[in-house]
């Protein structure tokens, strides 16, 4: 066969002296890099994606996965991936796919923002000794509240409060569908969400019955494919999310190939086994904002007025779009920045469309305030939240809460290798192959995810304490406590942040 002119990215190597021929690497690799050659392990390095499963399971530290030293000639303009993609396209005529968020070296605004701290004139607060409130409510807030004096002379609420979702900290899990990830991975998210008092989101794949015990911690999603949507589904969770777009692939739909639709996935999505699950690019009943309004209210009617979230990708005109969505009746607006992850997207789309979440939060928060409707919807920010510091910065820029997916998957073993679209994830996350998904024990991995959430919770409290505030409400939109380093005047202006030193 004609050998691919795209050289392998990685060199999987085994130290034959150290190797004890236990064959664990063969068993563990989802991409069939290794095979048994009778007396030693054979390696097909062109299949290696550097997910490092084999490395972790080799008892002898015999495996090394190296970046292939054979590269095209160094060229500051024609990068390795440019040339490689050209070769691949020449061979297949197709669109190179990718998984996870864009890894291109665009500027990372989070890394150019620093958080304030108290010294002398106002005391910092010790979160180990003083209460530190992270509790957050998602949903519409009234602009003001009215009371009447009760019979006992005490305050009695007169205003009818819109429905709220209480979360223990301003963090939830981003939507990931059953189909794009395994049921076990969804269970990890559900168990952790319930335990931590936060939320997971079904994504556009329907709700498997195994998740029903966690329904109070679940947002169900309705997207363009309408998979698994029926009245029971809409009412199964605490809120319904309408997905318009995704940060990793704004403006395009989804395609889950038939091979990834075994019986269980098919049942949950309510489609025949083995058929391709196609999510069209737009929702074909939403060609404009008034259509969205009708869908929002149709869902509200069907759910006895549960909160409705609308998820959009952060695109150039995000502020105006968000304002329209809020005016269309959404209770929550979910912004997904261009760094946001995906199970599968054309790399050309993932790497070149959309805007960073930092700009989007600032622009949307500003616009909603200018229009006096910031209270009408909560803002969830997602798309590349890597740490509690990113979360704190996103909240200070104006988000009510952040959503994480990639960070959550890393607790399940994911190494962000970016090959989720192959369906071979060795960690049992983005695959439906039973021998792979069986590796992901929901109980055990939920522990790890819960640890992560608790760790971030502690860190957020430390950040608030250093800021001298004891409620996350006082961080939200408090850009006065952020400073930019190395950002140009215009970016600072857009973010509403002063440069460090001012």
């Amino acid at each position: 066969m004609f050998k691919s002119l795209a050289p392998p990215e990685y060199l999987a190597t085994i130290d034959q002296v150290k190797c004890i021929r236990c064959k664990r690497c063969i068993q563990n690799c989802g991409w069939s890099v290794y095979s048994w050659g009778g007396d030693k392990v054979l390696i097909d390095t062109s299949k290696c994606v550097k997910c490092l499963r084999c490395y972790h399971y080799c008892p002898e530290e015999a495996i090394q996965i190296l970046d292939n030293p054979v590269k095209f000639k160094n060229n500051a303009y024609w990068g390795y991936n440019n040339i490689r993609n050209l070769k691949r396209q020449a061979e297949t005529g197709g669109i190179p796919l990718t998984g996870m968020g864009s890894d291109l070296p665009y500027p990372i605004l989070f890394d150019n923002l620093l958080i304030d701290a108290c010294q002398v004139t106002n005391p910092s607060i010790d979160p180990l000794r003083e209460p530190m409130e992270l509790r957050t409510y998602l949903g519409k807030k009234p602009a003001s509240v009215e009371f009447e004096k009760g019979k006992d002379g005490k305050l009695k609420l007169k205003t009818k409060m819109p429905p709220q979702i209480k979360i223990n900290l301003p963090l939830i899990f981003s939507p990931m569908s059953y189909g794009s990830i395994s049921l076990n991975a969804q269970k990890v998210l559900a168990i952790a969400a319930k335990e931590c008092g936060i939320l997971m989101n079904t994504g556009e794949g329907g709700l498997h019955e195994d998740l029903l015990p966690y329904r109070d911690s679940i947002i169900v999603q309705v997207a363009s494919g309408r998979f698994g949507v029926n009245p029971d589904y809409l009412n199964a969770g605490v809120a319904v999310e309408i997905k318009i777009g995704q940060g990793a692939k704004p403006g395009i739909g989804g395609h889950l190939p038939g091979e990834k639709i075994p019986l269980e996935v098919a049942r949950t999505r309510m489609i025949p086994v083995g058929t391709d699950a196609i999510s069209p690019a737009p929702q074909h009943d939403i060609y404009s904002i008034e259509d969205l309004k009708q869908l929002i209210y149709a869902i509200k009617e069907a759910t006895d007025y549960k909160p409705v979230s609308v998820k959009i990708a952060a695109v150039h005109n995000v502020a105006a779009i968000a304002s329209g969505i809020v005016r269309a009746g959404a209770d929550i607006i979910y912004l997904d920045g261009f760094r946001g992850g995906t199970g599968a997207a054309p790399s050309i789309i993932r790497d070149h469309l959309g805007i960073p979440i930092e700009h989007a939060i600032a622009a949307v928060d500003d616009r909603l305030r200018q229009e006096g409707i910031r209270n009408e919807a909560s803002i969830i920010a997602a798309g590349g939240i890597r740490s509690s510091a990113d979360a704190a910065k996103a909240i200070a820029l104006g988000a009510d809460a952040v959503a994480i997916a990639t960070a959550a998957l890393t607790t399940m073993g994911c190494t962000i290798c970016g090959k989720c679209y192959t369906g071979n994830c060795s960690w049992g996350i983005t695959t439906q192959r039973p021998e792979l998904t069986a590796r992901l024990d929901p109980e055990i991995f939920a522990e790890r995810l819960i640890n992560l959430v608790h760790a971030w919770e502690h860190e957020l409290k430390e950040i608030l304490g250093a800021l001298g505030i004891n409620a996350v409400d006082s961080l939200r939109g408090n850009r006065e406590r952020l400073r930019g380093v190395g950002l140009d005047t215009q970016t600072l202006d857009i973010l509403g942040v002063k440069p460090a030193g001012r």
Partner: protein, 383 residues
């Protein structure tokens, strides 16, 4: 300080007042003034008008809580002859500014009286802005339709403060007034002859600004309509409090976060109709763990308040006194990071940063206590 003009000697508009305003206009160039402070206040529930002598004595005892870069007084009941008129106290950088402001006032108000605020030479206060007071009433035709009179006056104050460079309205209530400037409490008192005024509510403040030079407009009390506030603390949530208020049309032009507290009270009480006690639970909200243990009705009420007014929570250390036409209120932040002591004697109620400041003018109070974190002391005038 050299930029101030000596009385009748005028300098260019790079004076601190104008500077403060320009910085605020740019938004991002704004620099928050942080300061430590001492405050004191008293009220006669029976509306006995007391000379300013006592409050000056009480404040001067706390000289060490300030650094001579700002002090001020507010009093209620001082203009009985003009009690139906808004008493605008305005400070000007230059007479030309005065004419601009007066043109604006003439176009919108009936002006009953204009006079320079009486001041007396004090050695330590070499320079001061031009200080003028106006007793005015909105022109009838300006209130046609459903224009609310208070809103109209507030808008005028906002307009002058944000649009007329070098002019500051530092007092705008009826039958009350603020007197403040750069100097230590005793000098400012002498400068304005505070002892010559008689009022039934007094508040006073000495300031310890730490990062911006003291300037006349930045001293406390800060006032809007009948509200006057003296504040000790630094509101760490200032950034969001400011943005929240801007959503309701407030323009924050001063360099102190006390302004945010004043506008917040105006929003909550005057515009949203909350009573004073409820407004206080917004500024110093109870913790969720306490709310969770309340009976259903109270829990529902306080949860709604926290949800709607999360951005109005004043987070960070503060104690503040606010006077209004019907009373005096003292309140601390939710974990009491700044001092506040209260005392009563007959119909008089005192509140101050330090007990000594009360005992200096009331040696044997009937009762002395330290209000708990977030629990307001609300005193109302007898009807």
């Amino acid at each position: 300080m050299n930029n101030y003009f000596e009385k009748n000697i005028f300098v260019n508009h790079e004076g601190p007042i104008a500077k403060g305003k320009k910085a605020a206009d740019k938004g991002l160039g704004y620099e928050k003034s942080i300061s430590g402070c001492g405050l004191t206040g008293l009220i006669s529930k029976n509306r006995t008008r007391l000379s300013g002598k006592a409050i000056v004595e009480s404040l001067c005892l706390m000289n060490d809580r300030g650094n001579g870069l700002g002090a001020g007084y507010a009093a209620y009941g001082i203009y009985p002859g003009f009690k139906d008129f808004y008493a605008f106290h305005i400070m000007y950088d230059a007479p030309s500014v005065r004419w601009t402001a007066e043109e604006f006032l003439k176009a919108n108000y009936h002006i009953e009286k204009i006079e320079e605020i009486p001041t007396f030479p004090v050695k330590a206060i070499a320079i001061s802005p031009l200080l003028v007071r106006y007793f005015i009433k909105p022109l009838k035709e300006k209130l046609a339709g459903d224009v609310n009179e208070s809103d109209f006056v507030v808008n005028s104050v906002m307009k002058i403060n944000s649009e007329i460079d070098g002019a500051y309205v530092f007092s705008s209530g009826k039958n009350m007034g603020a007197f403040k400037g750069v100097g230590n409490p005793c000098d400012i008192a002498e400068f304005f002859r505070i002892e010559d005024y008689e009022g039934y509510i007094w508040t006073a403040h000495t300031r310890f600004p730490t990062n911006t030079p003291g300037w006349w407009g930045g001293a406390h009390p800060f006032t809007l309509l009948d509200w006057s506030i003296v504040h000790n603390g630094e509101i760490s949530s200032y950034g969001i409090n400011k943005r929240y208020l801007e959503m309701f049309g407030y323009k924050l032009t001063l360099l102190t976060d006390t302004e945010a507290a004043a506008y917040m009270l105006d929003l909550l009480i005057r515009r949203h109709g909350l009573d004073i006690a409820t407004a206080c639970t917004v500024l110093a909200a109870p913790f969720w763990k306490n709310i969770d243990n309340m009976d259903e009705q109270k829990k529902e009420a306080l949860t709604a308040l926290r949800l709607a007014y999360g951005s109005a929570l004043l987070n960070g250390p503060f104690s503040l006194l606010f006077g209004h036409s019907n009373g005096l209120v003292g309140i601390n932040d939710r974990i009491k990071l700044r001092p506040l002591v209260a005392a009563t004697k007959n119909d008089l109620v005192y509140m101050a940063s330090e007990e000594s400041a009360i005992r200096a003018i009331c040696p044997s109070p009937d009762k002395v206590w330290t209000p708990r974190a977030g629990e307001p002391v609300i005193v109302e005038l007898n009807k």
